[in-house]
Symmetry: C2
Subunit: 178 residues, 2 copies
DNA sequence: CAGTAATTTCTGTTGTAACAGAACTGTCAG
DNA sequence: CTGACAGTTCTGTTACAACAGAAATTACTG
């Protein structure tokens, strides 16, 4: 894996690019892509060589990926170096990422909204219009997170079944109008 | 609106912070927050003063927001300046943002994956393992986007109903096992 | 057809995250 | 205890997006 095939290279570069668009460090995303494609766990040194980045950079990025919980440190018999492997189950991987982003970003946002609304209720320096908009937003996040909490428990095959049901799904649920 | 209440200020700052975490420019997000809270459309000049950023920066950011389709240029009778207003329907707003991100990021990713898989099938320099992983990923994005295409058509109230159904929903849909 | 106000585009600056390389720490073998 | 290697942390550099201010453009108005 020290040298990459054109296909591997293309995917890793694209994955890095996508990372930046979603607020993920490019190198972090590239390392994740590399590990995701690798059939075996890789040591940090190999990752650095393959991607052409500094060893120190790899160390930091791996810490980040472990923090997300999608990369794990493993040991290989007869090799004292740390090796790293990516989670391979795509569904579980994205579930973890979504959970984590909810925890890091959505939950704090909900907290801020609640506090803002509470404060706006008291001192009437903040106009009513602002309060209404914040309530809307709060309601939106409340509903969508509750909805996600439910869907995330579906087995991965369930989404496929749901898709196949098509428009029938809404009828089955009795969800009709606005 | 030239001067902000503490609540408004807090929300705008937080929204800007959240923006950066999701790959949205801080100022762009702040302007969006300001317009979202504003009961009336605002001219660029006012936005610049209120947020304390350069007029030119506001101009660029407003273009960006209009590009996303969540801010519109409007005119006020008797005022020749351009005014700007944010979409207020939170559900529609996020639907638009999701659509746009799908178009800009998910669709190109699907294209890359398809091309990578096609190329991997031909020249066997790329090992089979890589091909399998790319297929997994492609399947994942295919399913989730098809699923989103369906859910996005639900009226906003439908999600609330779905949440209230709780675990019953899966039974109604006949979605049982993995 | 000036002259003014509004807006956009251009250009140089700045702040910050990402980074490389060095220094440091820890671990193990002999 | 010493040397070699793996891994982490620190420090200075770099690259780039974000930005302010100036210049240019556009749209009116009298």
């Amino acid at each position: 894996m020290t040298t990459l095939s054109p296909v591997q290279q293309r995917f890793i570069l694209h994955w890095g690019e996508m990372g930046t668009r979603w607020g993920i460090n490019r190198t972090v995303a590239q390392i994740h892509a590399l590990l995701f494609l690798s059939p075996t766990p890789l040591p940090a040194e190999t990752i650095a060589e393959t991607l052409g980045v500094a060893r120190s950079n790899v160390s930091t990025s791996l810490k980040e990926l472990q923090g997300w919980g999608i990369v794990k440190l493993v040991h290989i018999l007869g090799d004292k170096r740390d090796h790293f492997e990516s989670m391979k189950d795509v569904w579980q991987m994205f579930r973890i990422v979504l959970d984590e982003r909810k925890r890091r970003e959505i939950d704090p946002t909900l907290a801020v909204l609640r506090e803002c609304i509470a404060e706006a209720e008291e001192d009437k320096e903040t106009d009513e219009y602002t309060e209404d908009r914040l309530r809307d937003l709060h309601g939106f996040f409340e509903t969508t997170t509750a909805w996600y909490a439910q869907v995330r428990q579906w087995p991965s095959g369930a989404l496929t079944k749901f898709v196949k049901l098509g428009a029938k799904a809404r009828n089955l649920l009795g969800i009709t109008g606005g």
